[in-house]
């Protein structure tokens, strides 16, 4: 059975369709491996018993026309799942059982997939290392005591460690792409408005997007095709014609123009990252595409802008956690005291920090100086991309300024932690799609990723570029199963 978990989604779907494997075989294999992988701490909640029941039911009357026929998968614990606890990695939602299903997960179950469980993440998706989760650190399958990145750290760890064939994460400032890069997998942050936000625990509503994470580009394209849909229940969902991403996937990118932005060559970036980027440029050329030097002059202002916009929106979104309607409640002497104690005991340090920043920048006398200023700079950052896309079809950058770091290495310095997202944040601010693909290893053998940024709604193009590059790179993830006893 161990071979099953090594298969890609595409292979599993094919094997189920050809009846070489049953959904029960596949589901049991991933459950078995998940059970042996407790040390990774990738799951917050498992739903293994129902998963087996669902798989057996599927096998009795298999609908093989579905896109994910009887495929088991775990999802980030930020997606509301009906009747299954959804915590967002927080104590304050430790006992929250949604009465409804997120649209993105609904789309997945409608295509035949089966829920394995809910995956660990940074609390309310606020973090870059999965160290802010109330449910503890997640281990990176690449090496012991290495962070998997965040906030979709449990998701990344589970895919890289083969606990689930695919998963979905969310990305507000890099939370899909950075952990994908740290664990040697593929992660796509779609265009804002492409995947419904309905039923996703909100962090920063103008930035949040759900997206697929997988072992390879083709799997990622297939899952994206399933989750991307117009949804009237999300007021910023956009109605446009969506591609059959996996069917239309091609490695023919001849003649494409790929921009190389000089501002991404940041101070102190390790030589290994620069070398990887140069290699990426060579791969692009080998594929018959052209690279063009471009400038995105406002790049260095993206992180400061993000650290105003995201906490401001978060402070507003998280106002709902008051200990009244759902979630954790602390005892208080009166109503206000109850609110204050509930939020003080229910939220972790990073979430409190961000609520405080957000409250401050929106408070009387500071709104114009911070929030309005940030919205203006956000416009300049978006303009940078609009200008660049007059000349190029996509942009190639490193995904992160370093490889994965050790657990505890950056927890005492919030700013150094925030710098992890330097290459991913501009994409969210501009609402664009970006995909991270594994592209090499550093001297420690840890994976490094490259990011391809596209025009809005041009996921097919960046997936094609990623697909073509993937073939040239021929990346092999170094998973030793160190955590399995």
């Amino acid at each position: 059975m161990s071979d099953i978990t090594k298969q890609s989604l595409t292979e599993l779907v094919e094997n189920i369709k050809n009846k070489k494997l049953s959904s029960t075989d596949v589901t049991k294999a991933f459950i078995d491996r998940s059970e042996k992988s407790e040390e990774l701490n990738a799951y917050i909640t498992n739903d293994f018993t129902s998963a087996i029941d669902k798989a057996k039911k599927f096998d009795q009357k298999p609908n093989l026309d579905l896109k994910l026929p009887g495929i088991p998968m775990a999802v980030k614990d930020l997606f509301c799942t009906k009747n299954i606890k959804t915590t967002a990695g927080s104590k304050i939602l430790n006992n929250f059982v949604p009465t409804y299903e997120s649209t993105v997960t609904e789309n997945i179950w409608n295509e035949g997939a089966i829920l394995l469980g809910k995956l660990n993440c940074d609390e309310f998706a606020m973090g870059s290392s999965n160290e802010t989760s109330f449910f503890g650190n997640v281990q990176n399958p690449i090496d012991k005591n290495l962070v998997p990145g965040g906030s979709s750290g449990g998701s990344a760890s589970a895919v890289a460690g083969q606990l689930t064939p695919i998963t979905i994460g969310t990305d507000t400032g890099g939370s899909i792409r950075q952990p994908a890069s740290f664990t040697g997998i593929v992660g796509l942050k779609p265009t804002y408005g492409s995947c419904s936000r309905y039923g996703i625990v909100a962090f920063a509503s103008s930035l949040d997007q759900a997206g697929p994470m997988a072992q390879n580009v083709k799997d990622c394209a297939l899952l994206h095709e399933v989750i991307s849909s117009y949804d009237p229940k999300d007021s910023t969902s956009i109605n446009f014609k969506r591609n059959h991403f996996s069917k239309e996937l091609t490695n023919n990118i001849k003649g494409k123009k790929i921009g190389i932005p000089k501002e991404y060559r940041v101070d102190g970036m390790p030589k290994e990252i620069e070398d990887l980027w140069q290699k990426g440029i060579q791969y692009i050329k080998d594929c018959g595409a052209e690279t063009i030097d471009i400038s995105l002059p406002y790049t260095s202002y993206a992180l400061p802008t993000y650290y105003i916009v995201a906490p401001a929106e978060a402070s507003s979104n998280l106002a709902r956690y008051d200990g009244v309607k759902y979630g954790f409640r602390a005892k208080g002497e009166n109503l206000i005291d109850m609110y204050e104690k509930t939020r003080s005991e229910g939220f972790g340090a990073e979430v409190q920090r961000r609520i405080m920043i957000g409250t401050y920048v929106l408070s009387s006398g500071y709104y114009d100086a911070y929030y309005l200023k940030a919205q203006k700079v956000r416009k300049l950052i978006k303009n940078d991309f609009d200008e660049a896309y007059k000349k190029v079809d996509a942009i190639l950058t490193p995904s992160t300024p370093s490889s994965a770091f050790k657990i505890g290495e950056k927890t005492n310095d919030p700013v150094s932690m925030y710098l992890n997202d330097i290459f991913t944040v501009p994409v969210n601010l501009a609402g664009l799609p970006g995909v991270s693909i594994p592209a090499g290893h550093d001297s420690k053998g840890y994976p490094l990723g490259l990011q391809i940024i596209g025009k809005a709604f041009d996921e097919q193009n960046i997936l094609n570029i990623a697909y073509a590059m993937e073939e040239k790179i021929n990346f092999k993830n170094k998973i030793t199963d160190w955590w399995i006893k």
Binding site: Y192, I336, Y370, Q375, K382
Partner: protein, 95 residues
């Protein structure tokens, strides 16, 4: 710019998060280092820039005001930390 303990206390009141002295000092330190980093935005002149208020270039759509979820009171109340079957319960607010 420096955020002092008084400001921290004020923000924590606005945010409805109780903060003791020790946490307040830690938060002041953290917030000051974060705002030092944010201040970089002041290098830019933005007087004539339109703020970006929505990334999705779409207008909000209208829909008819219909009840879609019916008879879910019980399910919703079930998630309440303290309930009396019919209502959400909070500490007494009127003497």
């Amino acid at each position: 710019m420096s955020i002092d303990l008084k400001t921290i206390k004020h923000i924590s009141k606005l945010a409805r998060i109780s903060v003791d002295e020790q946490r307040a000092e830690k938060l002041a330190g953290d917030l000051n280092s974060i705002f030092d980093f944010i201040e970089k935005l002041n290098e830019l002149k933005t007087d004539n820039v339109e703020p970006l208020t929505s990334i999705a270039e779409t207008t909000l759509k209208l829909r008819s005001d219909e009840v879609k979820s019916k008879n879910i009171r019980e399910q919703i109340i079930k998630n309440s930390p303290q309930d009396n079957e019919d209502y959400f319960v909070v500490p007494k607010v009127i003497e």
